[in-house]
Amino acid sequence: MRSMGMTPAEIERRKIYVGLTPEDVRAIAGARKAIEDTVDRHVDAFFGYLAKIPEAHGLIENREQLPRAKKLKRDHIFGLVSGTYDEKYVEQRLELAELYNKIGLEPAVFLGAYNHLMTSLESVAREQITSLRKIGAFDIGVTVDALVHQRERVIRIQSEAIRELSTPVLQVRDRMLLIPIIGVVDSHRAQLIMENLLASIRSQRARAAVMDVTGVATVDSKVANYLLQTVAAARLMGAHVIISGLSAEVAQSLVALGIDLEQIHAVGDLQGGLEEAERMLAR
């Protein structure tokens, strides 16, 4: 919760976003009894909708989480009409959002279910629905933010994992290096690869290096430039770089980008690259 910055000030700001006024809170108080008396109906409206959605079967068939989700949703409806929307209320929203996340509920499906809940509330609190919808918008804001936040966290963790995948420089035989590059190359990783290669050329006394980019799906102008720089820097140190495994798409995009291909010594596949390097060393 703290990682999302849900401070009391932030909560107040969000109330202003949705236009929640003291009159709304008073209005909701008027509907409190009617809604509390029919709470199970509203919970069923929410989960009844989810039961019909194939994407939500993860929750509906989850015997462990479903009772918990139902209880939390029931608490939510009580909270919704309680009139106090403080940190505790938001915390409860986040708890439910975390549960949705665990079972992989899509934001769009959640929004649909929430709308059904609102329709159900409307049936017993027609006059107060405008005010209730404001709280609804508040809830949706918090929940969707939490869902997105969690996803972004996952993406961040994964991209860190990819970056941490080392970029090994392998010695194939005396004076020959192999640099297999797999995955997404951004400028940070590109620089890392270049530094690794140059250091290895020095320490292994390499004269030829094969850079295999079979595992690189896309190349933009930044990465292409880095390829050229690596080739040029290695040459300054007396080593020849052969690039192997440029796919048809990558080759086409390099040409389309207008990259100066003069300096690139490209060979179709890794085998060809290694053979070419052998020939160079034999010379």
Partner: protein, 119 residues
């Protein structure tokens, strides 16, 4: 400033400390002279000790290599450090047209190969 040693028909110059622009030009003139007097066929310039190469030095080195070629000697620049190579490339100074090698030993081997090709 820069000692120029003769080994067979090859001249070996080791730049052991950062040179001022004047020293560099003197080195260039000395070398061009020596190539003629000893009838050198190859020149190795060792820059292992340098951890910085600015654009003037780089251009002068390239000039030396071109001059030496006109005087009938092939030049190899050896010992460019990884960080130096990295910086040069980022500045767009790629010493095109000049041979490079890892170290003195490699440089001499490269000259020997080139000599054989000429035969």
């Amino acid at each position: 400033m820069v000692p120029i040693l003769k080994q067979g028909d090859t001249l070996i110059a080791s730049i052991v400390a950062a040179l001022s622009d004047d020293d560099l030009m003197k080195f260039r003139d000395d070398l061009a002279q020596r190539i003629g007097t000893v009838r050198a066929r190859g020149v190795v310039i060792d820059v292992t000790a340098l951890d910085v190469l600015d654009s003037f030095a780089t251009r002068t080195l390239r000039g030396i290599a071109y001059t030496a070629r006109l005087r009938g000697a092939e030049t190899v620049i050896v010992g460019i450090q990884p960080e130096v190579a990295f910086t040069l490339v980022q500045l767009g100074l790629t010493l095109e047209g000049v041979s490079t090698a890892l170290d003195l030993e490699e440089g001499l081997a490269l000259l020997a190969r080139k000599k054989q090709e000429r035969r």
